[in-house]
């Protein structure tokens, strides 16, 4: 007689669910190198544009990948892996912002974003830099994930840990605000 038949179905159902969602085997060196090549630029761009600090972005990106490799994932596939990576990066960013230190984003001088959007940068970056500075960190994350990465509301909820229902409203407000700031910047440059 199998041991599962002795247990109540409530208990065995959980065991079956766990078995069906078995952990994805860890990536080997070559598979990781390919995944890194395909995903690292997006992750770096996300971290750099939402934090406004390229050096910090580099550190957080490295830590994100190390944690990603150490973690036990449940979902297989490149899309799920990328989403998981963005989730780790978002958590690291949030931890960084919560930490009381002088390099906190709220304490960065107003010239910081402008300085990084100087000569040699594209028009979009020069426009986006000052606008992003005036956005809240969470709004920057939401906007980047939605409009640069093209994630759906459900995916953004998974990455940020926010409630899926509230993302629509938050994103709508953030988009309206950043669009106004972008138009202001554009009209300011035209003058």
């Amino acid at each position: 007689m199998p041991w599962e038949s002795v247990l109540p179905s409530v208990l065995t159902r959980d065991a079956q669910l766990d078995a069906s969602r078995a952990a994805v085997p860890p990536m080997d060196n070559d598979a990781f190198a390919c995944f890194y090549e395909r995903s690292s630029r997006s992750v770096w761009a996300y971290l750099a544009r939402t934090s406004g600090d390229p050096a910090l972005a580099e550190d957080l990106m490295q830590e994100s990948y190390v944690r990603f490799l150490c973690a036990t994932r449940k979902e297989e596939g490149e899309v799920a892996a990328r989403r998981y990576l963005f989730r780790i990066a978002s958590n690291l960013l949030r931890d960084h912002w919560r930490r009381p230190r002088t390099s906190s984003l709220d304490e960065i001088s107003e010239d910081f974003f402008a300085a990084h959007g100087g000569s040699g940068q594209s028009d979009s970056q020069m426009m986006l830099g000052p606008a992003m500075k005036q956005m809240r960190p969470r709004d920057r994350q939401l906007l980047w994930l939605a409009y640069a990465e093209g994630y759906s509301h459900r995916e953004i909820a998974e990455v940020t840990g926010l409630a899926s229902a509230s993302i629509r409203l938050m994103l709508f407000r953030a988009r309206r605000k950043v669009a106004r700031l972008l138009r202001d910047t554009e009209s300011g440059r035209a003058l």
Partner: protein
Amino acid sequence: MKLGSCAREKEVKDLLERGHWPEACAPDLRLHVSGCRNCGDLVLVTETFRNARAAAAGAAKLGSPGLLWWRAQLRRRNAAVERIGRPLLSAQIFALATILLLTVGFVVSQARHGLGWLTWLEGLPEAGTLHLGNLWPTALFDPSWSPLVLVPAVATLVLLGGAVVYLVSEKQ
């Protein structure tokens, strides 16, 4: 804030996602976007963020994936070693606590028996020939002691010995 959604916003979003905006877009939709605030915001924000993403991705300074992979392996290994070492540490703490309790119990029991050690030490030079039996202080091991006391004491000593050996080997 009220969500003033536009009926054509989804249409514009689909075109942007497929990269059909603005070239492969119907003129009436283009006219609509120029007059609709929601759709105008959507186009402006999407295009700006996508351009910024492309520019930022090009400027990324990427490290070696091999180095990151090895760092992760090292971290996993350390975590595994820590996981294995945790029960050993608990065993060490338990052994130490037990031996301390037994020592205290032993000292208290000796004190109650009037410190028989002293009489044994005094009588030692008068014992003449050195026999093993003479070296056992009779007051130390009371015949009334049950194995319930002796067995845990010996077991704890063995456990502590193991812990000491482990600590020494770990340091080496």
